[in-house]
C-alpha cells in the first residue's frame, strides 16, 4: 500500500480519532479511580468491622478477577443491573465507553486505596499526634498535613497505576469501543499492513509514557520539597 495515499491517510485519521477516545477513556478512568480510591482508602482506615468486611470483599473480588471480565460484566450486564437498581420500567443504554470508564474506575480505585493504606502506614504517627495536640480537626489535618505528605509517599505507586490504566484501555475495544487499538486493527486488516499501523499505535503509547515520566519527575520535585533539599 502506498504511504500517504488518500486511503492510507483515511486510516491514519481514524487512528487519530481512536487515540482521542483512548485518551478520554484513560483520563476519565484514572481521575475517577484516583478520587474514589483516595476516599475509599481513607474510609477503610477505620477499624469498624462492617467497613472492613465490605472493603475486604470488594478488594478480593476486584483484585482476583481480570479487568476484561469486569468490563464484559458491566457492558453486557450493565443495563440489567441499572434496571434492577432504578426500576424495570425504564431502559438503560450502556455504551462501551461508559462500561469501560466504570470498569477502570472500580478496578483501579481498589489499587489506589491499597496505595493510600501503605502510604498512611509509612507516615510517622507523630504527624497525626502533632495535629491533635495543636487542636487541628481531622478534616483540616488531612487536608493540610496528611494528604500532601501521602501524595509524596504514594506518587511512585500512582505513576505505576497510571501506566497500567493506560495499557488496560485497549481491553474496552473488545466491548466494541473504537479506540486507538481497535482502529489500528481495522486498518491493519483492511490494508494487510500490520506493521505500519500497529507500530504507529505502539508509538503513541511510548510517547505518552515518556510524557508521563517527565510529569511524574516534576510532581516528585514539587511534593518532595522540604525533603529533597537534604539530599542536594
Amino acid at each position: 500500500m502506498e504511504l500517504f495515499s488518500d486511503q492510507f491517510n483515511g486510516y491514519l485519521w481514524q487512528m487519530v480519532q481512536g487515540a482521542y477516545i483512548t485518551l478520554q477513556l484513560f483520563a476519565a478512568g484514572f481521575t475517577l479511580a484516583l478520587v474514589l480510591g483516595t476516599l475509599i482508602g481513607i474510609v477503610t482506615l477505620s477499624r469498624n468491622w462492617l467497613i472492613q468486611a465490605v472493603w475486604k470483599t470488594y478488594a478480593s473480588i476486584i483484585m482476583g478477577v481480570p479487568s476484561l471480565l469486569i468490563i464484559f460484566l458491566l457492558y453486557y450486564g450493565g443495563s440489567a443491573m441499572l434496571s434492577g437498581l432504578f426500576g424495570t420500567d425504564r431502559s438503560f443504554d450502556v455504551t462501551p465507553f461508559g462500561a469501560g470508564v466504570t470498569a477502570l474506575t472500580i478496578v483501579y480505585a481498589a489499587y489506589v486505596a491499597e496505595l493510600v493504606h501503605g502510604a498512611v502506614m509509612n507516615l510517622p504517627k507523630g504527624q497525626f499526634e502533632a495535629c491533635s495536640a495543636l487542636a487541628i480537626g481531622p478534616v483540616a489535618a488531612w487536608r493540610h498535613v496528611i494528604l500532601p505528605q501521602l501524595t509524596r509517599l504514594a506518587l511512585p505507586g500512582l505513576v505505576n497505576i497510571w501506566m497500567i490504566v493506560l495499557k488496560d484501555t485497549p481491553l474496552v475495544s473488545l466491548a466494541g469501543l473504537n479506540d486507538l487499538v481497535a482502529n489500528a486493527k481495522i486498518a491493519a486488516g483492511a490494508t494487510k499492513e500490520p506493521f505500519i499501523f500497529f507500530i504507529a499505535a505502539s508509538l503513541f503509547f511510548i510517547v505518552f509514557s515518556a510524557l508521563t515520566l517527565r510529569l511524574s519527575a516534576r510532581l516528585e520535585a514539587r511534593f518532595g520539597r522540604g525533603l529533597a533539599e537534604v539530599k542536594a
Partner: protein
C-alpha cells in the same frame, strides 16, 4: 499578713493559686498491662513540674493523657476547669489550653518553619494570614529562629527544629505547656539551647509539665519533681528535697543511676 508570709515563707508555691491541672485516681491500661495506676497530681498555675523515672514507668503516658493523646480509662482529669470526659468539645477545649512539645519534634516536613507555626493559629484560632504571620514571627524570634523562617525543617539542626516546635506550640498561646522528653533525641551540644528556651519560658511564668532526664534543668527550674515507677507516682517533692533527701529506696536507686 498572709501576703507577708507568702513572700518570706519557705514555700512560695504553696500559696493557693488556681489549679491548672488536676488528676485524680487516673488509670490507663494497654490491654491487660496497667500503664498508669491511681495517679493523683495537682499542678497550680505558674508551677513547673518535672516528671522523671526509668523508661517504661508511664511518665510519657501520664503527660499524654493530659491532652488526651492517650485516653485514660479511670479517674478524672480537669484542665483549667475543663473536665476531660472524652466528648469532642472537652478534648478540643483542653487541647487549646495545652501546648505540647514532642521528643521527635513532629514538625510538618512539607511546610516551611513559618508555615509550621502559622498553620494551627489559622485553622483553629481563625487568624488572618497577616495576624498569624506576625504571631509566628514573634514566637520564632523568642526561640531565636527569626532568621530562618523560610527554611524547611529538614534544613535545620535538631536543636533548632525543637525550638521551632516550641514556637509552634506557643503560637496557640496556651496557658499550659507539656514537654515530653524534649531533649532526648538531641545531640549533646544542642540540648543546652533547647533547655535555655524552656528556662526563659519558665521565667515568664508559664505553667510547665516536663518529662525529662535533665536533672540540672530540674534543679534550676522545677518547683516540684515527681518520680514515677511502674505506672505509679512513687515520690513527689520540692526540687531540693527531691535531690538532697529522697525518701523512697526506688528514687534513691534511680538517682544513683543517673547522677554520676
Amino acid at each position: 499578713m498572709s501576703a507577708l508570709q507568702t513572700e518570706t515563707g519557705p514555700q512560695p508555691v504553696a500559696a493557693p493559686r488556681p489549679i491548672a491541672v488536676e488528676m485524680t485516681g487516673v488509670e490507663k491500661y494497654y490491654g491487660k498491662f496497667k500503664a498508669l495506676s491511681g495517679i493523683d497530681l495537682t499542678v497550680r498555675k505558674g508551677e513547673k513540674i518535672v516528671i522523671c523515672g526509668p523508661s517504661g514507668s508511664g511518665k510519657s503516658t501520664l503527660i499524654r493523657t493530659i491532652n488526651r493523646l492517650e485516653p485514660h480509662d479511670g479517674g478524672t482529669i480537669v484542665v483549667n476547669g475543663i473536665t476531660l470526659d472524652g466528648s469532642p468539645t472537652s478534648v478540643q477545649d483542653v487541647r487549646l489550653e495545652c501546648g505540647m512539645v514532642f521528643q521527635q519534634f513532629n514538625l510538618f516536613p512539607h511546610l516551611t518553619i513559618l508555615e509550621n507555626c502559622m498553620l494551627a493559629p489559622r485553622l483553629t484560632r481563625k487568624l488572618s494570614k497577616t495576624q498569624a504571620e506576625a504571631l509566628a514571627l514573634k514566637y520564632l524570634e523568642r526561640v531565636h529562629i527569626g532568621a530562618q523562617t523560610h527554611k524547611y525543617p529538614s534544613q535545620l539542626s535538631g536543636g533548632q527544629q525543637q525550638r521551632v516546635a516550641i514556637a509552634r506550640a506557643l503560637c496557640m498561646e496556651p496557658p499550659i505547656m507539656l514537654f515530653d522528653e524534649p531533649t532526648s533525641a538531641l545531640d549533646p551540644e544542642m540540648i543546652k539551647e533547647v533547655l535555655q528556651v524552656m528556662e526563659d519560658l519558665a521565667e515568664d511564668g508559664m505553667t510547665m509539665i516536663c518529662v525529662t532526664h535533665e536533672m540540672g534543668f530540674a534543679r534550676r527550674v522545677a518547683n516540684r519533681c515527681v518520680f514515677m515507677d511502674q505506672g505509679e507516682i512513687v515520690e513527689e517533692a520540692r526540687a531540693e528535697e527531691f535531690f538532697e533527701a529522697p525518701k523512697s529506696d526506688r528514687l534513691k536507686a534511680f538517682l544513683a543511676q543517673i547522677l554520676h
